[in-house]
Amino acid sequence: MDFVQNFPAVSILMCLFAGIISSGMKKRSARYISMGLIVAVTVLSLCTLLYILKTGQAFVYVMGKFPAPWGNEIRAGVLEAFMAFFFCVIMFLSLEGGRKKLADEVEEGKTFLYYVLSDLLLSSLLALVYTNDLFTAYVFVEINTIAACGLIMIRQNGRTIKASARYMIMSLLGSGLFLMGLCMLYDLTGHLLMSNIKEQAALIYASGEYRIPLLIVIALMSVGLAIKSALFPFHAWLPDAYGYSTVSSAAILSSLVSKGYIFLLIKIIYRVIGFDIFNSSKIINVLFIFGLMGMIFGSLSAIRENDVRRMISFSSVAQIGYIYMGIGMGTQAGIGASVFHILSHAATKSLLFIAAIGLTDVSGGSRKFIELTGAAYRNKWAGAAFTVGSLSMVGVPMFSGFISKLLFAQAAVQNNVKMLPALIVLGISTVLNAIYFMKTVIRIYTPVDDGKYDSIRFKDMKSYTVILICFILLNVILGVSSQPVVDLIDQGLAMFS
């Protein structure tokens, strides 16, 4: 066994321990530990990725000494390692970008808790990404939920508490459904390890027995994860949770947490249920239709919204709709597009959140549109970043959003029945995206000369600006040289089965 194969497990454990250690530390050191940790995990994931690319196949890492089918396994393929890498990058950027705001919004004594929570969150995300064991997945889903709740709630005002309570309830409902699905699956197959379940599931399916229980399992799991990732119409918790929490939380939640669940779902589709079995169930159509509806209604709500942060949150609903539409397409290409969109949306949405905060800060902290007039002149980089994010969301070429749109559309064409609805909704949703994002862009570039708010200079926000530039670059890189990424995704998906 190569040394590198230890890395995934090590990174998960590192995160857990870092969380525990930093809970005893002072505020400053908690942050340093956290940041150092993320960097370390990034490096480790990168190594893993390179290693897998070199060997050309996924590896399974057995935790402890118990062999399958009892043990606890970690599986690392191209896609897993890449996701872990990417999540870390976004996490780092989001935390760093929202640092200043965090200091303003959270009580002095509690900031270290924030980093504890984020360490935990990262560990759970990594676990979700890497695990080859459904039960482990469930455990970390719960850890994830709790950590996320903490991240929302840490900015203490009435709204966030209400939001986190709502989030908690919805999330637990989702995990409950997931757990029920898990139990039934265990009943049916007698296994908890993904690879084993898949073999059994295929046998059961082939024998023609337990069709309905299997269907129910699929339904429970998909719906459970859909609730957790805020698929329309289960998105009611989302705008408040994203809209009122501190900005790093919003960025992390929208770009990572919900994506972690989606990634888990994709994993389940490929590695637990089996792609073909999943495809032949009707659930896929439900996901498709919910996805389409999410694309439209999410955007419509965003258009009506008068608060920048909530608008961006609603846009998340629409984007998650895109992803589910891709999954619902039932083709390899569709899922590939979804995975790409997970990446591009993560990069774009956290950019938007971070940039929005820069804009609201120079507008007296108000998030109302009317106050944002001319904000882009007061904070030039935030304005530019917001514009880039918006353009990417609208799907202008050279930015990541365009590529995901392209991939979605190409995937859609391969499916005879779903092609037209998918394409048309794609078109309409682009128009809607354009409406609310461009409205904002025009608003922030409309000059005012009443001098009500001071502008902010580059000197005062170096790190913030650097983060924004990184985000912009990330976006552009995904947009311009997407071919390697797409190849990676294809390779990773191929490794799944």
Binding site: L391, V394, G395, V396, P397, M398, I403, K405, L406, A409, Q410, A412, V413, Q414, M419, L420, L423, I424, L426, G427, I428, T430, V431, A434, I435, M438, K439, I442, Y445, T446, P447, V480, S481, S482, Q483, V486
Partner: protein, 487 residues
């Protein structure tokens, strides 16, 4: 080299806002020189073109940003590069009365590069890219005055254009999947084996994509952004909303029809009829609205709507002759409309009047401007001997030649529209030259023709209109060459 002509204007535009010019004159000189140099470069590029494709970036697989000069590019790039220096000259004078000049010229010059990008694009994706870019880069120009009206107009413009592009995008996808390549090849790139029995879906997609690009070309029912966008300063309305932007839409439609889907695939299908009927309706609709409108620029904008659909009508005929007609009108209309818009701008600049009914008797005070306006009005009507007649003739004879009944009905629409054009253009002329008997001449005291910066472009355009009208042989021959693929 190709990249250079696109980048020079963009860089020049960026420089304007960065470099602190001591005097306005320096900026003017700097800009005008660069624009002229760029136009010369374009001219050189078109005359000494290589048939190679120049690839800038590779996106995924066979998708790339690449450039090439073919016949169509020659037409459009030539047109744009011929008009831009004059329009810039005109804009110097016009903008003396407006604010935020620098921002204006920044984007105005950048647009030049982007438009060239559209014209020189070698494949659908590149064109699509520059097409989106064009939308974004022209929004600040529409927004220029920053009045509430302007902001609303620019928002509308943006939504319409991006929305249109979103649907055109669907067409792009289908070409990627069902075409053998996304490069522009005269006659289309569809791979018939791949299509199999999905002809109807492809036709539907074609219609959707055509309408998507048609948004920029202001096809009914997606036309209402164009008159609203008239709140922009006149050089913008003239050059962009009569030439660069809207013609990009028409250009894209030609590319889509003749170079991507291919006319063999489309001719005689329901898609052709549907589009033709929409276009015909737009022709008449635009004119009728123009007749109703009393604001000069909005009237001209509606006229643009109708005339753009002339071009699209030529496109939907889907024969080489139809393409010749479309190209002829593409080029000739540019001259006619820019000339009439510049006149409107000159009137507004010199007198501050915006409405048709305020123009009584001005013909004697501003003889040059109104003389030019009369010529362009007559040309737009299609009076023989002026450019408009030739393009209409080409369109109509293409329609006759195609033998389709719908196309013949289209000729009728063209003629109805010509009549309506006469109504909305000549009422202005008549007002200006034949004021009511009891008109108080003294109120026009002090109104004169604008200075040379405005007049020179006007006179050159007029000269061109007449020249094209009387001696269109070579240029039409060139267009036929383009349509038949010799260029």
């Amino acid at each position: 080299m190709i990249l250079l002509v696109i980048l020079i204007p963009i860089a020049a535009g960026a420089l304007i806002s960065l470099v602190p010019f001591k005097k306005r004159v320096y900026m003017e000189l700097f800009l005008e020189t660069l624009v002229i140099i760029n136009s010369l470069l374009v001219g050189y590029l078109l005359l000494h073109r290589s048939s190679d494709i120049f690839t800038l970036v590779n996106f995924t697989g066979n998708l790339s940003i690449s450039f090439k000069v073919d016949g169509m590019s020659m037409v459009f790039a030539g047109l744009v590069s011929a008009l831009w220096p004059m329009a810039t000259l005109y804009a110097f004078e016009y903008m003396t009365k407006e604010e935020h000049e620098k921002i204006f010229f920044t984007f105005y010059t950048m647009t030049y590069g982007v438009t060239l990008g559209i014209s020189l694009a070698a494949n659908l994706l590149t064109m699509y890219f520059f097409y989106e870019l064009l939308t974004l880069i022209t929004v600040p120009l529409v927004m220029h005055t920053l009045t509430r009206e302007a902001i609303l107009a620019s928002r509308k413009y943006l939504y319409y254009s991006l929305g249109g592009a979103a649907f055109a995008f669907i067409g792009l996808i289908f070409i990627i999947i069902y075409g053998s390549t996304t490069d522009f090849v005269l006659g289309g790139v569809l791979d018939l084996d791949k299509i199999g029995d999905r002809t109807n879906i492809l036709l539907l997609i074609y219609v959707i994509a055509f309408m998507g690009f048609g948004v920029k070309a202001a096809v009914c029912p997606f036309n209402s952004w164009l008159p609203d966008a008239g709140v922009a300063p006149t050089p913008v309305t003239a050059l962009l909303h009569a030439v660069a932007v809207v013609k990009s839409g028409a250009f894209a439609a030609i590319r889509l029809t003749y170079y991507s889907f291919g006319t063999d695939f489309l001719r005689g299908t329901w898609a052709q009829d549907v589009l033709m009927i929409i276009v015909m309706f737009t022709i008449v609709y635009g004119c009728s609205r123009a007749v109703k409108e009393t604001h000069i620029k909005r009237r001209l904008a509606y006229s643009t709507i109708s005339n753009l659909s002339y071009i699209l009508f030529g496109v939907t005929i889907m024969t080489p002759l139809g393409m010749v007609g479309a190209l002829t009108h593409l080029v000739f209309h540019a001259f006619m409309k820019i000339s009439s818009f510049f006149c409107a701008g000159a009137i507004m600049h010199q007198t501050g009047k915006h409405y048709v009914h305020e123009l009584d008797g001005m013909g004697y005070k501003m003889p040059c401007v109104f003389g030019v306006f009369t010529v362009s009005a007559l040309a737009l009507m299609g009076v023989p001997g002026l450019a408009g007649f030739v393009s209409k003739w080409n369109l109509a004879s293409a329609a006759v030649e195609s033998g389709s009944r719908t196309a013949c009905a289209g000729i009728g629409c063209l003629l109805i529209s010509a009549l309506l054009t006469a109504i909305y253009m000549l009422t202005i002329v008549i007002r200006a030259f034949f004021p009511a008997k009891d008109y108080d001449v003294s109120s026009l005291e002090g109104i004169r023709d604008p200075n040379w910066k405005m007049l020179i472009p006007l006179l050159i355009f007029t000269g061109n209109i007449i020249l094209f009208g009387l001696w269109s042989g070579p240029i039409v021959k060139f267009f036929s060459g383009v349509a038949s693929g010799t260029y």
